[in-house]
Amino acid sequence: MDVEILARIQFAFTIMFHYIYPPLSIGLGLLLVIMEGVYMKTGDEAYHRMARFWTKMFAVTFAIGVATGIVMEFEFGTNWATYSRYVGDVFGSALAAEGVFAFFLESGFLALLLFGWERISPRLHYFSTIMVCLGAHFSAIWIIVANSWMQTPAGYHIVGEGLGARAEITDFWAMVFNPSSVERLLHTVVAAWLTGAFLVISVSAYYLLKKRHKTFAVNSLRIALIVAAVSVLLQAVLGDMSARGVAKNQPMKLAAMEGIYETQKGAPLVLFGIPDSESASVKNEIAIPKLLSFLSFRDLNAEVKGLNEVPRKDWPNVMAVFTTYRLMLLMWVLMVLVVASAWWKWKKGTLLESKGLLRFMIVSVLFPQIANQTGWIAAEMGRYPWIVQDLLRISEGLSKSVTAQPVLGSLIMFTTVYLFLFLMFLYLFNEKIKHGPDEPEEETPYHGLHSLVGGIGND
């Protein structure tokens, strides 16, 4: 295999593994702020225990997220040195801002969040929780800005010729608010909220099914369901915004996502089908006439560009982009289904007896995760052959001094290490869930005396 495909596989693999964790940190971060907020407001110890339990889960996901994130930071330079030289002036600033504004905030206040329960006042602790949550969101901002710039470059000019050419910033804010960054950021952040919310939904459903920690589970579930309900609704709007942005800014990506081979007016929306780039058509399709034109441009007869506009060698892998994009949409439908049926059963008061639904809710932790992964695959593979849209090709971005062997070697290393990590993570997460939150001690008539005796004993 050549360096290009190996480097692409390595980047895909390491980023996909990494991206299991940051959405969890962002989503759980928000839920922690809500949980501890309820505790601050009501003083209800149950919410205090809840926040402490989910803080521990947060710590595990955060640690792996950071460790696998550092890999990404240096992989730009190791495998994609020419790309780094080309974009460093633009992309690097966003990355540096991420370090200064997001990572320090997150890791610094995480210390207080994890170890500060008994050292600092509840107010300061709550402040730390908010800062960690903010830090997690800030990190999303800068990296999505950087990625969006690669989709829709803005605020730069090209300096130099040939091998020495590179992009330089002309307008920082135009770079930050490039045409796709706002909608993609919102879409990603809300997806992260869903990821966190469905983890809590899943774990709570597990306790309800096993009839353990019932109060804890019901309280956690209530918060998570509210966040999930708001987020799935928001996602309908934001997803639509993102898709229209793609239609406007990256027509070839849209063509690959929708299997449009020929430029046409009044393009249909293909619900199901098998795209075949050989014959440049979608086989066995079930389609709704004119809907794609309407969804993309709010006009039934608008023209949708097809892949025939660019040479065949520049076509993305339509099968992969088309399928992953639909999988993402399917996951959204499933999430809506979970939230709607859970609400309905909750209102009816029969949620605890609905074993089938609870099992479905346990599995639902995977839905946002699959949606995240497939959505990003569609977004990134849809940009093929460009590493920076219309400026730099993927094949031009590689490190010139790196041969296939070390890339293959490090790919094998990362595969082994990540597989091991993932197994350990699942094992530990599973153990923590089985252990559950700390339950309050039983109230006894001697309760007050206990502390007295304890106090004497300890001194």
């Binding site: 710590a59 640690a63 792996i64 950071v66 460790a67 994130g69 550092i70 890999v71 930071e73 240096f74 730009f76 330079g77 190791t78 040195a81 020419t82 780094s84 030289r85 974009v87 460093g88 002036d89 690097g92 600033s93 990355l95 540096a96 801002a97 370090g99 200064v100 504004f101 990572f103 320090f104 905030l105 890791s107 610094g108 206040f109 995480l110 210390a111 207080l112 994890l114 170890f115 500060g116 008994e118 050292r119 091998l163 330089e168 910033i169 002309t170 920082f172 490190s399 010139k400 001094s401 790196v402 070390p406 070697g409 490090s410 290393m413 290490v417 990590l421 350990m424 530990l428 153990e431």
Partner: protein, 343 residues
């Protein structure tokens, strides 16, 4: 001679400050890691781990931010450095992953095999990180072969020469000493007494390695002394460095562990300053043609517009970061004890 006090220079200074911050702060984390297996009982290991418990994560961010600062300010250097040191950086990354996960996972299960597995990984990873960083620094002093496109033309084997390993071992010795002094400062009772026994061999090992590396550097890479020859005022760093090192055993003798730790920090800062002065203005020296092909802070920097933006980001961000970092260290001041939130 080019104008020195430019945006490039000041961003390079910020980069070196970030690296120094990393070496001082994460240096003791790595030292604790390297020494982890020397303490035999589980309670001792937990105590040592919890001396760095709340802070190691934030300390590592200094490296992440230094990496970002290099990418943004000197993209060419970042690109050449990462692609030339491909294998050492991959090992470094594996080390950082294992260290993070080992700290996080170790104490979450009581089984002996579980704890031993993570103990070995924690210690091994810390050693690999320290050695890897030293290896890269050694190569930056010696230089690596570059072509006129700023691309590395050598091979992985070219990076593995005795001098680079010497610097690697020096870094290991430095962080070990720093780590032991840190634990000395943060513990009490039996573990504290034990650290007092360990600290002398650690100091002696470091001083031996330091002296030997300095002599070797001056014999084989005399360019490291050129800047000092030109501006003798820089000798002050070498002098301060000696004072700092000499002060460490003195403060420990008087039971002033905090001051000993500060001296150790000072030692690291001086070493970084001497390294920076010696290599300046090269960031990556071309061993084949140092005059023509070396990558300097002038020929590898971003546009001045970007450097301005970066300075602005740093001016807004870094004071805030320093403020809450100091606050957090203040909150976790004093001797470490195990409680319900400990690792």
């Amino acid at each position: 001679m080019t104008e020195i006090y430019t945006l490039e220079f000041s961003w390079f200074l910020i980069f070196v400050v970030l690296l120094t911050g990393f070496s001082i702060l994460d240096g003791f984390d790595l030292g604790v890691g390297i020494f982890h297996l020397f303490s035999k009982s589980d309670e001792e290991r937990r105590l040592m781990l919890n001396t760095i418990g709340p802070v190691w994560d934030g300390n590592e961010v200094w490296l992440v931010t230094a990496g970002g600062a290099l990418f943004a300010g000197f993209p060419d250097v970042y690109a050449t450095l990462c692609s030339a040191f491909y294998i050492p950086i991959m090992l470094l990354l594996a080390g950082l992953i294992f260290r993070a996960v080992a700290i996080e996972f170790r104490s979450k299960q009581p089984m002996a095999w579980w704890r031993w597995m993570w103990d070995l990984l924690f210690s091994g990873a810390s050693l690999v990180i320290a050695l890897g960083l030293g290896l890269v620094m050694g190569n930056l002093i010696e230089g690596i072969p570059l072509d006129n496109q700023k691309e590395f033309t050598g091979d992985f084997v070219d990076l593995l020469h005795p001098y680079a390993f010497l610097v690697g071992i020096l870094v290991v010795a430095l962080f070990s000493m720093h780590g032991v002094i840190y634990v000395l400062m943060k513990t009490e009772g039996a573990l504290h007494d034990k650290m007092r026994e360990w600290v002398n061999p650690a100091i002696i090992l470091f001083i031996m390695m330091y002296a030997f590396t300095t002599v070797t550097t001056l014999i084989y890479f005399p360019h490291m002394a050129d800047a000092i020859k030109e501006r003798p005022v820089f000798l002050i760093f070498a002098f301060l460095n000696m004072l700092a090192i000499a002060n460490i055993p003195r403060e420990i003798h008087h039971n002033r562990d905090g001051r000993a730790f500060l001296s150790s920090c000072m030692n690291i800062a001086c070493l970084m300053a001497l390294f920076g002065i010696g290599t300046f203005p090269n960031v990556i020296r071309a061993s084949n043609d140092p005059e023509l092909l070396s990558m300097t802070i002038w020929n590898s920097a971003s546009s001045s517009k970007t450097l301005w933006i970066l300075h602005l980001i740093a001016a807004i961000g870094i004071p805030v970061v320093l403020a809450y970092t100091i606050a957090i260290y203040y909150i976790f001041r004093g001797k470490v004890r195990l409680d319900s939130t400990s690792y």
